[in-house]
């Protein structure tokens, strides 16, 4: 073999190494996850098809096939915005829980029974956890509706869309519960605390 040919061969082999490494890395780290993810999505959508008894007429199928891609783009935008609102709300809820924790510290320093504030804090933590789960489910439902091959499987897309609508309702419900908790229990807990502060009632050490 001529030297120049040998040199060119070495160059090509060297250039192929990174591509092989990328391929190998992807195969090792993500192949299994990808398969599981697709399997899980298929199972979720199959369950939704069963739950909502999705059956499309030929006309409906054609309508979905021709118009589903722009719909998926819109769903992608909703998913993006969901991430932003999720972060903003998480900050707010963490702030509230942190503030209640500060109040608890101040109550303990005054040797007053902090149980009502502790109860309120736990209620906020539980409602926040419910909200987090609902948002996570909503994100998954949106991801399913975006990833499904809507042209090949319009029924699956329809089912995924119903899943998105249902998941949105859960998010709104969990958010409403936090608002209701704020409107009712927060005021009650603070009023009780004010009473204790004024009268010295509930002092832990019995003074």
């Amino acid at each position: 073999m001529k030297r120049s040919e040998l040199f060119v061969s070495v160059v090509f082999i060297l250039s192929a190494i990174p591509a092989v490494l990328v391929s190998a890395q992807t195969d090792v780290s993500l192949s299994d996850v990808g398969t599981y993810s697709v399997d899980a999505r298929t199972a979720r959508i199959a369950a939704l098809r069963e739950q909502y008894r999705i059956k499309l007429s030929d006309k409906e199928r054609e309508l979905v096939v021709t118009r589903c891609e722009p719909a998926q783009t819109s769903l992608q935008k909703i998913a993006f915005r969901l991430n932003e609102t999720h972060i903003a709300r998480t900050v707010t809820y963490d702030d509230v829980i942190g503030s209640l924790d500060t109040v608890r510290t101040l109550i303990v320093a005054k040797q007053i029974d902090p149980s009502n504030i502790e109860l309120l804090t736990v209620e906020y933590q539980l409602k926040k956890a419910t909200f987090e789960i609902a948002v996570s489910d909503y994100q998954t439902a949106l991801e399913d509706s975006i990833q499904v091959d809507c042209k090949a499987q319009p029924e699956d897309f329809r089912a995924a869309l119903e899943g998105v609508r249902s998941a949105r309702k859960d998010v709104v419900n969990s958010s409403t519960q936090i608002t209701e908790l704020t409107n009712s229990n927060l005021k009650t807990a603070f009023d009780t605390l004010k009473l204790k502060l004024g009268t010295g009632d509930g002092v832990v050490d019995g003074k």
């Binding site: 120049s4 160059v11 503030s99 998105v164 704020t182 603070f190 502060l197």
Partner: protein, 105 residues
């Protein structure tokens, strides 16, 4: 004979050698970039940046007075209610944007 001379001339040509070196560098850079874009490192960095953004975002001011009294509690209650009500479900999770007509179906 003439062909052999050409090859020797080519090997001794610094422009040719530098060109090959540059080509090799570009290929390796492209490979590395591709590897980075496909790797989990990029996702990890994005996640860390998102988390940093979350933690850097300054929390809205809540009174943290050391004095626990009625005024403090009233102020805190108002602030919490304002913060919670600043998030609108209708704006954040509108059902209207998921209707068939809104999605163009």
């Amino acid at each position: 004979m003439e062909n052999k001379d050409d090859r020797i001339l080519l090997r001794n040509n610094p422009v040719f050698v530098i060109g090959i070196a540059c080509l090799l560098a570009i290929l390796m850079f492209s490979g590395s970039l591709l590897a980075y874009l496909h790797s989990d490192t990029k996702k990890t960095i994005e996640q860390i940046q998102a988390n940093n953004l979350r933690s850097i975002e300054t929390p809205k001011e809540l009174p943290l007075s050391a004095e626990l009294n009625d005024a403090y509690l009233d102020q805190l209650e108002t602030n919490i209610q304002t913060q919670i009500s600043s998030h609108s479900d209708e704006t954040d999770y509108s059902s209207a944007e998921l209707t068939d007509s809104a999605l163009g179906l």
